[in-house]
């Protein structure tokens, strides 16, 4: 039973849930009015029918008794015309009287209201004993139900008076009343719909406002305030919503602050990293490079002064090793922080980098730089350089690409960079799972400068990276 109930409730809930609040309220009001109206109509109709039927029955008895009393002398003195008049007048004065007739003690009809003939079968239908007060039965006639009452006249010595009261009038009254009640129900329903419309507006306006506010908050607008229209549950909901919005706004503010701090920190880290790289690069170039260069010069001088061919050969080997180390140090310095980036700018640095890159990796790179005649802010130059560097490194390491292109365009105060390759591409989700942070790094750099970075890649279709940074 409980399970059935819960299933029933679940079904009911699903059914009710399919309608809007407006429809629900309308439905409740209409259903209530209609149920009440129809219920009361049916009940009143049945009670009224019962009461009127009882009254009709009593009326048939009283009319029959009255006719019997007044007919007594008329029958005894054989005044049949007056007897007929009595019946006609009785029918005239009681619209419900369908027929009236009087029989003598032998059952012969003395007077009746049927006019030209008489329905003979009516005679035997209802009989009454001389000692009875009356005898009433309900007849199902071709003209509807008829209450037939027989009353003995002068204890049956003068005959029997019979009166038939038709239910037609009563039925008409009941029908009229039923119609009026149903009409009232319809009218009340109309008023109910109007009231429900108003009620719906009153009830749903705060809900709709709440919904709109919730959508706005969902889109990040924490300035939404919903006016609590009433002190009811919806009003409480509005207040709870406002409190929640305020909490969210506070949380958002804190988050923004933290984000700001993080950005600052990141910026500092990056700056520090760049400074450190620059310092190490300079150190490598200036100190280590100079030392190695002078070492080579000395080795050259020693070689020239050495008479032994064996030693000379070994010295040459050493000198070659030192030259290789010098190259390595030089490359390392450039890799860390190309001085050309600081000295000649982004375009020159990228040209140099691409040149070196093509020497080191089997990838053909097409670099196009447009509208970059002037120097850019140092942070932007560094960020774009590092993004291109990281991207090309990724291509060399993972893309198995034949060619790559780098397009740099400075226009309308924005610098746009597009790096494309014809490699194997990658699945972004898989890359995220593998925890490859390189892509995050370039995104962080772009975002630190309020830039936007978009990566488009599908396996087998190559990769495109778009970066746009404001100046």
């Amino acid at each position: 039973m409980t399970i059935q109930n819960s299933q029933f409730l679940a079904r009911l809930w699903r059914f009710a849930g399919a309608f809007s609040v407006r429809t629900k309220i309308m439905g409740i009001v209409l259903a209530l009015v209609l149920l009440l109206g129809v219920g009361i109509t049916v009940q009143v109709r049945s009670v009224l029918t019962l009461a009127l039927e009882q009254r009709l029955q009593e009326q048939s008895i009283s009319v029959a008794r009255d006719v019997a009393a007044r007919a007594t002398d008329l029958i005894l003195v054989n005044d049949l015309f007056s007897l007929h008049q009595l019946l006609v007048e009785t029918q005239l004065n009681n619209p419900d009287v369908r027929y009236a007739f009087v029989t003598d003690s032998n059952g012969t009809v003395l007077a009746h209201t049927f006019g030209p003939g008489f329905p003979q079968s009516l005679l035997e239908i209802n009989t009454v004993a001389s000692s009875d007060h009356h005898h009433t039965i309900l007849l199902d006639s071709d003209e509807g139900l008829v209450w037939d009452t027989a009353v003995p006249i002068f204890d049956g010595k003068a005959g029997v008076a019979r009166i038939g009261l038709s239910e037609a009038g009563m039925q008409a009254t009941v029908t009229t009343l039923t119609g009026q009640m149903l009409l009232t129900t319809v009218m009340v329903s109309a008023v109910g719909i109007a009231a429900a419309t108003l009620l719906t507006w009153v009830v749903t306006r705060p809900i709709i406002e709440l919904k709109q506010a919730a959508e706005a908050v969902g889109q990040g607008d924490f300035q939404q305030y919903v006016i609590p229209w009433a002190g009811d549950e919806i009003g409480e909901l509005a207040e709870a919503f406002n409190a929640m919005t305020a909490d969210l706004a506070q949380a958002e503010k804190e988050r923004a602050e933290r984000e700001h701090l993080r950005s600052q920190l990141l910026e500092k880290v990056i700056t520090a990293q760049e400074d450190e790289r620059r310092r190490i690069a300079r150190e490598l170039h200036d100190e280590t490079g100079q030392s190695l260069t002078s070492l080579m010069v000395r080795l050259q001088m020693v070689n020239q002064q050495c008479p032994l061919p064996d030693i000379q050969e070994q010295l040459d080997d050493v000198r070659t090793l030192v030259a290789q180390t010098l190259d390595g140090v030089h490359n390392l310095a450039v890799e860390l922080r190309p001085s050309v980036l600081d000295d000649l700018g982004l375009a020159a640095a990228l040209h140099r980098y691409v040149q070196d890159y093509q020497v080191r990796y089997p990838v053909e790179v097409d670099l196009v730089v447009m509208g970059l005649e002037e120097r850019l802010p140092s942070a932007v130059e560094t960020a774009v350089y590092r993004i291109v560097q990281e991207s090309l490194t990724n291509i060399a390491r993972h893309a198995q690409a034949q060619t790559a292109s780098v397009l740099l365009e400075c226009r309308n105060g924005r610098i746009r960079t597009i790096i494309e390759d014809d490699g194997v591409g990658f699945d972004w989700d898989q890359v995220k799972e593998n925890g490859r942070l390189g892509l995050y790094g370039i995104r962080e750099r772009a975002e630190l400068l309020n830039g936007v970075l978009t990566i488009e890649s599908t396996p087998g279709q190559g990769t495109s990276i778009f970066v746009e940074v404001p100046l």
Partner: protein
């Protein structure tokens, strides 16, 4: 489940509204009524003039008619009419065989078509009665003179005690009924005249002393509500009459049955119900005073 039961109860209640009909009938199926079939034995038709009301007549004369039916060995049918005149017409046309009429009705019938006396009832050992002038018990009237300008109830246009005598009394004062009373009406029976006075429908009435005594016996409260202020001289008692064309054998049989009535227990019981001692033969001469009164009252002015 509970709601389902409630629903069923609701519709049962609605269903209870109309009880089942006991029988069905077609009210528009009208047929001509059969004529009254002639009975094999012709009943003895007895008319009783409306000295007392039709219902009172049935109660009083019923046993007497049953007795006659028994004695004559044929059914007896009671015939009543509203006025004395109608009964006289029935006697004259022979539609009734025998009639109990009022004295003045006899006078008129005897004069007009030779109505024959058959017998007369004896009440309190005598064959006379009086006209009593009655008023409501709380009325200050002491004589007919005090009833000037009042409402007066007559019993029948040709009644001796109920109309002719009070009109004669008024005429003795040099007035007519129309000028003396403010209004008059006919009750067409003596007991209804008594009831009219008792219930203040009329301020006064003149009634048959025999009917008055009989009515007081049956309805004692009438004695408290009415008072007799005048009694007329004795008149001949209302007789039993037959038509002049009545067959002598029937006249003889009827006379025998009536005269021997108090000799059997059934006859005595019937006489008691009618308030009579028995029946005696009677002479037309006994009605002379009534005849004179009738002539005096209805004389052309």
């Amino acid at each position: 489940m509970r709601y389902f039961l409630l629903l069923i109860a609701f519709f049962l209640l609605v269903g209870c509204a109309t009880p089942p009909a006991a029988a069905s009938i077609n009210l528009s199926d009208l047929q001509p009524l059969p004529g009254v079939s002639a009975t094999a034995v012709k009943p003895l038709r007895v008319a009783v003039a409306a000295i007392i009301s039709p219902k009172g007549t049935v109660d009083s004369y019923g046993p007497l008619l049953d007795y006659l039916a028994e004695e004559l060995d044929r059914p007896v049918e009671l015939v009543q009419r509203r006025t004395y005149g109608e009964v006289n017409d029935l006697v004259q046309s022979g539609e009734v065989d025998v009639a109990f009429v009022c004295t003045s009705a006899y006078i008129v019938g005897q004069r007009d078509f030779g109505m024959q006396l058959l017998a007369a009832p004896q009440v309190m050992g005598d064959t006379v009665y009086h006209s009593l002038l009655i008023v409501p018990a709380d009325s200050p009237a002491q004589s007919m003179a005090d009833l000037r300008g009042s409402v007066f109830a007559f019993t029948d246009p040709i009644s001796t005690s109920g109309r002719n005598y009070p009109v004669w009394l008024v005429q003795q004062m040099g007035e007519t009924a129309e000028s003396f009373f403010s209004r008059t009406f006919y009750t067409y029976s003596h007991d209804d005249a008594i009831r009219a006075v008792a219930n203040h429908v009329a301020d006064g009435a003149a009634v048959d002393s025999l009917v008055y005594a009989f009515a007081l016996e049956r309805e004692p409260e009438l004695a408290q509500k009415t008072r007799v202020i005048h009694q007329s001289p004795a008149f001949g008692i209302p007789p039993v009459v037959v038509s002049p064309q009545a067959r002598p054998q029937l006249v003889a049989d009827l006379q025998a049955a009536l005269l021997q009535m108090n000799e059997t227990a059934a006859g005595q019981a019937a006489l008691q119900a009618a308030g009579m001692d028995g029946f005696v033969l009677i002479e037309d001469a006994l009605y002379q005073s009534v005849r004179e009164l009738e002539t005096a009252v209805n004389r052309e002015p």
